[in-house]
């Protein structure tokens, strides 16, 4: 009895010691992200699969809010030494953190990773500034044009509409508005900032040149695109002003079946499909003066101040999150673009492509997709662009005058911050 008790105690102590050492051996990776609801569930699934295959790593994921919230919280956390090990950062706004030495240079990891050859070119380029790699892409997107088939049919527009020029879009929105305004339905949602950038590119220009960094806010083609966008709200009254002061209002109204057309990220595909079902139509963005769409979304960066062990584990997780297996789960659950060339071969992605019409529109736009500028001044420009857009769209200031002044201010800010 006594011997058995001793054996039992010894075994318990041994088991405790083994489990304690195993727990000590586990590396924790804290990870801040911006995905909730369906995309949050998909991310949890990816993390679960990674942890099952890598029990020595514990990924502690935390939903922090949208991209802006993450940036605000990250900058407060950095001086307090409470930053995470890995963080989702929007593709045009990580430059500031890279420039400030906050993000680890992932080039040595990335160069040694077979993942590098699996990623699409566009996805690989997203994380590069100069010759260094700072983020690994995770959720990539382009804007697409969503329309409500039922609203179009009730307005008398039969079949798949041709919405490849600005005027065709405005005409369709006008038709919807004329026919269904009495039901509280508007023709088009005021474009959000991502769509505005896309419409400028669809008109043969850009806000800031991604290659040279030249500020193109006052380029005649940019002005022309903004004049058209502003006219949708102010002159033609085809878009609700509610979507100008709060951009999510336009999306929400479209999902509620109160708007005919919405231009928004392909990351909204699954949400729109859930809301509208078979009534959801998806088309590429217009090609008003050439075809070009911006790449949006975010990638995962690793904090340079994290312990080396956590950085290694974080990169291992980040690499898995961009793998074909994980990316296929993500693509099928959200509608974000595949970033891995092998994702489409995965059964879950193949099924999504076969069963969810329109989910491939953004993929087909990839030949026209371009990365956007990510120099430090982009954050300043994007923050202030909202005010400029509101002034133009609500008819408070002329478009040309506003953009010329805004371009000058952006150049001055760039000069100030680069000194």
């Amino acid at each position: 009895m006594s011997r058995k008790l001793h054996v039992l105690i010894a075994a318990s102590v041994l088991a405790l010691a083994v489990s304690a050492s195993a727990a000590q051996a586990q590396t924790t990776v804290t990870f801040w992200h911006s995905f909730n609801n369906k995309s949050g569930e998909a991310l949890e699934e990816i993390i679960g699969k990674y942890e099952a295959a890598n029990p020595e790593v514990d990924v502690q994921a935390e939903y922090v809010g949208n991209y802006n919230d993450i940036v605000a919280r990250l900058q407060a956390a950095i001086p307090a030494n409470r930053a995470p090990d890995a963080v989702i950062l929007e593709v045009t706004r990580y430059g500031l953190f890279a420039d400030g030495g906050v993000l680890a240079d992932l080039t040595p990891y990335f160069d040694a990773d077979p993942l590098k050859d699996e990623l699409y070119d566009y996805a690989r380029q997203i994380g590069v500034i100069g010759d260094k790699n700072y983020i690994v892409p995770f959720n990539s997107s382009t804007p697409v044009l969503y329309y409500n088939k039922d609203i179009f049919a009730r307005a008398g527009i039969e079949g798949e509409p041709d919405l490849s020029t600005f005027e065709q879009i405005a005409d369709a929105a006008q038709t919807v508005s004329d026919a269904l305004a009495s039901e509280g339905i508007t023709g088009i949602a005021a474009p959000g900032q991502f769509a505005r950038w896309g419409l400028v590119m669809a008109n043969g220009s850009d806000l800031i040149d991604a290659t040279t960094g030249e500020i193109l806010l006052d380029d005649p083609k940019t002005i022309e695109a903004y004049e058209w966008m502003a006219s949708l709200v102010h002159d033609r009254q085809l878009a609700s002003a509610d979507g100008v002061t709060e951009e999510d209002n336009g999306r929400d109204a479209f999902l509620a079946g109160k708007v005919g057309i919405m231009m928004n990220s392909t990351g909204n595909y699954v949400g729109a499909r859930d809301a509208l079902g078979e009534d959801l139509g998806v088309l590429p963005m217009p090609c008003n003066d050439g075809c070009a769409v911006p790449i949006g979304g975010a990638g995962i960066g690793i904090l340079a101040n994290s312990p080396q062990e956590a950085q290694d584990a974080a990169y291992d997780f980040v690499s898995y999150a961009a793998s074909a297996e994980a990316n296929a789960i993500w693509f099928a659950a959200t509608g974000y673009l595949p970033i891995n060339r092998n994702s489409a071969e995965q059964p879950v992605a193949a099924e999504a492509l076969a069963s969810q019409p329109g989910i491939d529109v953004a993929i087909n736009s990839l030949p026209n997709a371009h990365g956007r500028a990510r120099t430090p001044v982009v954050t300043w420009m994007r923050t202030n662009e909202y005010d400029m857009w509101q002034a133009m769209a609500l008819g408070q200031r002329p478009v040309e005058e506003t953009l010329i002044q805004f371009a000058e201010e952006t150049r001055a800010e760039e000069a100030r911050t680069s000194n």
Binding site: N68, V71, A72, Q75, A76, I78, P79, L96, F97, G100, G101, V102, G184, T186, S240, A241, D242, V244, T245, E246, N249, A253, K258, T379, W380, T383, Y386, D387, M388, Q390, A391, L394, Q396, R397
Partner: protein, 290 residues
């Protein structure tokens, strides 16, 4: 012998330490940062002298925000005090209905500002909101509540007034109840009319309460942030971009901590200055005893 002398200091020490760490040190740190260039990330914070202040004073955004804040305070503070005094005059009696109404009025004060702002965002949505649904139901046109610069500021003032009114009313009721009844009786016997009694007896005797509420409401008006950040984010086109929102945008969105801190220091000095002016102008008229 020493302990009795030290006891008060020992008892007060925790609170003094708390205030020092969470109030005075941040103030000193803000003043220091206002003379530096920093973006939260760089380990270095180079001294730039008065550059941040100079840039603010040369910036249209700063003067615009200051004027929006001044307009907000100029409308909001008198409106709050006048409404609160009028309502408190009716609710000062200790009867059942008064107690219920006081509770109802106080409810917005203790309700989350974010929740209030979200609900009112829905109410004042131009195309999908309750306010315009009611107007169109009455055959009237839609009002661009949050898209017209002037109307948007008025909407924010009204919501802020509604939220803070309950607190002002409760304080005024306490002040009114402290006025001795015999003074009203004497005034009545002297033939004073209601308005005269109110002007000559009530108003002077509740001056300390009014002065306190004035100081509090002016400070509060200059610090409004949550309602703006949730409902308009300073828009449309900067029309409601008040000082604290500009401070947040400068420091926490644009990463310019030096300029944001300079703005905080200016706001601090401004509020101290206003308090001194109020003290000089009104302080002499405040009587603390009947």
């Amino acid at each position: 012998m020493l302990m009795p002398k030290l006891t008060p200091y020992l008892l007060a020490a925790p609170l003094i330490a708390f205030i020092a760490v969470f109030t005075y040190l941040p103030i000193i740190s803000s003043v220091d940062l206002s003379f530096r260039s920093w973006n939260f990330m760089s380990p270095e914070k180079p001294f730039v002298g008065f550059d941040n202040y100079a840039r603010l004073f040369a910036s249209d955004d700063f003067w615009h925000s200051l004027s929006v804040t001044a307009v907000f305070a100029a409308i909001s503070v008198p409106l709050r005090l006048a409404l609160a005094l009028a309502i408190a005059s009716y609710l000062k009696r200790e009867i059942f209905s008064s107690r219920i109404l006081r509770g109802a009025l106080f409810l917005p004060t203790i309700t989350s500002t974010v929740s209030i702002a979200v609900v009112f965002s829905w109410v004042f949505s131009t195309d999908y909101g309750l306010a315009n649904a009611a107007l169109t139901g009455l055959g009237l046109g839609k009002v661009p509540w949050l898209q017209d610069p002037q109307i948007a500021l008025l909407v924010l003032i009204l919501i802020n007034t509604w939220k803070q009114l309950g607190y002002d009313v409760i304080i005024y009721i306490a002040g009114l109840q402290a006025v001795p009844q015999e003074l009203y009786d004497a005034a009545s016997m002297d033939g004073g009319r209601r308005w005269q009694v109110f002007r000559r007896v009530t108003v002077p005797l509740i001056m300390p309460t009014t002065y306190f509420l004035l100081v509090i409401s002016v400070i509060e008006a200059f610090q409004v942030f949550t309602i703006i950040n949730v409902m308009t984010r300073g828009g449309p086109a900067g029309a409601t971009d008040m000082l604290v929102h500009l401070l947040y945008r400068t420091g926490f969105v644009l990463f310019d901590i030096g300029t944001g801190s300079a703005l905080a220091v200016i706001l601090f000095v401004l509020l101290i200055g206003l308090a001194l002016v109020k003290s000089r102008v009104l302080g002499a008229k405040v009587h603390y005893e009947a």
